[in-house]
């Protein structure tokens, strides 16, 4: 069985632990053994930079080193964790001096950042680690009669050097949704507008103004549900008229799980799936 290290960001702990359950079930359904990187710490969330950017490099070098110690690649379903960890990897791999300084401190914990582990997000995990054919084979039933609008979220498409798909014309999410038996609404107004999550705790009104835009666009285009890979986008956008789910929740249902078993019952906006 293939193994992968699960990086537990803030949206997989505390009251959000159901997101971890969704993730581990998703991996089980795909025939992958998920190893929780227990001593991993916050990726920085774009906020620790406001105290010390070098700490962000340090924390994520340590997070990757924890995966490397287990001999596995690192996987996180969160767009922001993915982007920040992938950016750190680029910084460390292109700056031997920084890498050496960080490794000197990591040695205290018996860790070393080698730069060998790959960084995966759900989208590129399905394409490059699991393989689209294996993914399709793992699906057991169709979720029919539902129109789904794919919503990527920003941090899997920007900045360009960490994008998991062609930023000009991403198709990966559509390719992941179609085998589920749903009808994909590929184009809609404001489909690339940010969910605003990262303004939640500083300017909540700004977040609210943004979060509604892609949802309204999807509704206008006839979508029943919006599907995002990102738990933060999900958190920011859930609770409005148009429902939003994580794509891994839909995959788990197509693999035979009930909506309750993959936390769909926790959605603030009710979702009806005909299965």
């Amino acid at each position: 069985m293939k193994k992968i290290g699960i990086y537990p960001g803030c949206c997989f702990q505390g009251a959000d632990e159901h997101n971890y359950e969704i993730t581990i079930r998703f991996l089980e359904n795909m025939g992958v053994d998920g190893i929780l990187l227990e001593r991993a710490a916050c990726c920085g969330g774009g906020v620790i930079d406001e105290s010390n950017k070098l700490v962000v490099y340090g924390l994520n070098a340590r997070n990757i080193a924890l995966a490397e110690k287990e001999g596995v690649d690192l996987y996180t379903p969160c767009n922001t964790c993915y982007m920040i960890i992938a950016k750190t990897k680029l910084a460390l791999d292109s700056n031997p001096d920084l890498k050496e300084q960080v490794n000197k401190i990591l040695a205290d914990e018996g860790l070393e950042y080698k730069g060998e582990a790959k960084i995966y997000h759900t989208l590129n995990l399905l394409r490059d680690f699991i393989g689209m054919d294996n993914y399709k084979k793992a699906l057991k039933r169709e979720i029919s009669g539902v129109k789904v609008a794919p919503y990527y979220g920003c941090h899997v498409l920007a900045p360009n050097e960490v994008a998991v798909d062609d930023p000009d014309n991403p198709t990966l999410l559509k390719e992941i949704l179609e085998p589920l038996g749903v009808e994909v609404i590929d184009e809609y107004q404001n489909q690339n507008t940010c969910c605003g999550y990262h303004a939640t705790y500083t300017d909540n009104a700004q977040k609210e103004r943004l979060a509604i835009k892609p949802l309204d666009g999807a509704k206008e285009a006839g979508a029943d549900i919006v599907a995002t890979p990102c738990p933060l986008c999900h958190k920011a956008m859930d609770g409005k008229e148009e429902p939003i789910l994580q794509v891994t929740q839909l995959i788990n249902v197509a693999c035979g799980m009930t909506p309750e078993e993959t936390a769909i019952n926790l959605n603030k906006t009710e979702v009806k799936l005909s299965i």
Binding site: V47, D49, E50, N52, L54, A199, Y201, N204, L210
Partner: protein, 319 residues
């Protein structure tokens, strides 16, 4: 070099009729054209009324920024053939600026916002001599603090793709904030740092959603979103007390204590009274879900001291 066929799908705007519409141009052209050369070809051979702004053709004047396949960039710097998707290259004017005609936007509103950050040096008399005989020296280390940011050509590519502007038209904008950061970091600048922060505090640094689209847009590889984090750090260091600086302190503290951010107590820590409602709603929801109070936030993992020692050492030793 060979000829290729594709469709240039261009969003046009007729100012007399105040009407915008998409128009498809079928072209068969050399595969070496830049997007700007493609537009010139269409203007020359197909439709002379097509209007766009350009000058240097060398990615230095910053005139030809536009959206190509929905992403901001300079038309003169991008190869058209690299942008063909399903036989189509989609070209639109920048967002968040009034369209004058077709692909030409009015950049004045963004320039007016730029003026608000005082985008010029206020010479520090201790650093900048008052005569022409002696030099104003800047060390390579000092210049490295804002070297990249001086490459900005005011093309507005970042502005035309900014999500914070999508949420609030009054937001200053990425290039404006990068400029503010650049002058704070300039060792020759004499303006009080707090005064410069005051210029960007309202409708400024805290509305940025860190979407990273400005990094993807900039033709000079400047990273405005990262400069905005730098401005927030400076705001915290000069003692500003607001939702963002409180968030930054609380975030760091709880990551240090538990390894993870405490999102249950964060709203009150950062938004104060406004956060109470958010916390009450969460408490209600969590209790309905049958969660125990100790599971509302993160718990430190075994060996948290190792992480704390690591963070302390990184702060002290990594340069």
């Amino acid at each position: 070099m060979k000829n290729i066929k594709y469709t240039a799908k261009i969003k046009r705007y007729n100012p007399e009729k105040k009407e915008s519409y998409w128009q498809d141009f079928e072209v068969e052209v050399e595969d070496t054209l830049t997007v700007l050369e493609l537009l010139m070809y269409i203007k020359d051979k197909i439709d002379s009324t097509l209007t766009f702004r350009s000058f240097c053709r060398s990615a230095i004047c910053g005139s030809c920024a536009m959206l190509i396949n929905g992403r901001s960039g300079l038309a003169c710097k991008i190869q058209a053939k690299d942008k063909i998707r399903n036989g189509v290259v989609k070209i639109e004017p920048l967002q968040h600026l009034p369209v004058i005609k077709d692909l030409v936007v009015d950049i004045d509103p963004a320039i007016e916002k730029l003026k608000k950050v005082k985008p010029y040096l206020e010479p520090d008399p201790k650093k900048v001599p008052d005569n022409l005989k002696s030099e104003s020296l800047v060390s390579p280390e000092e210049f490295a603090m804002y070297d990249k940011q001086t490459d900005c050509i005011l093309c507005m590519a970042c502005y035309g793709q900014c999500n914070a502007l999508e949420g609030d038209a009054k937001y200053l904008g990425p290039l404006q904030l990068t400029k503010a950061f650049r002058f704070i970091m300039d060792s020759r600048d004499g303006m009080d740092v707090e005064e410069r922060i005051n210029l960007v505090e309202n409708s400024g640094i805290y509305e940025c959603v860190q979407c990273q689209m400005c990094l993807a847009a900039c033709p000079k590889d400047i990273k405005p979103a990262e400069d905005i984090l730098g401005l927030r750090r400076i705001a915290k260091d000069v003692g500003k007390d607001n939702s963002a600086t409180r968030r930054a302190k609380f975030w760091f503290q709880t990551v240090y204590e538990t390894g993870q951010i405490d999102k249950y107590n964060l709203p009150v820590a950062s938004l104060e009274e406004d956060g109470e409602v958010i916390k009450e709603n969460m408490e209600k929801e969590f209790k309905e879900r049958g969660l125990k109070e100790e599971n509302f936030g993160p718990q430190p993992f075994d060996g948290i001291q190792d992480l704390q020692n690591f963070i302390k050492k990184v702060q002290k030793e990594v340069k």
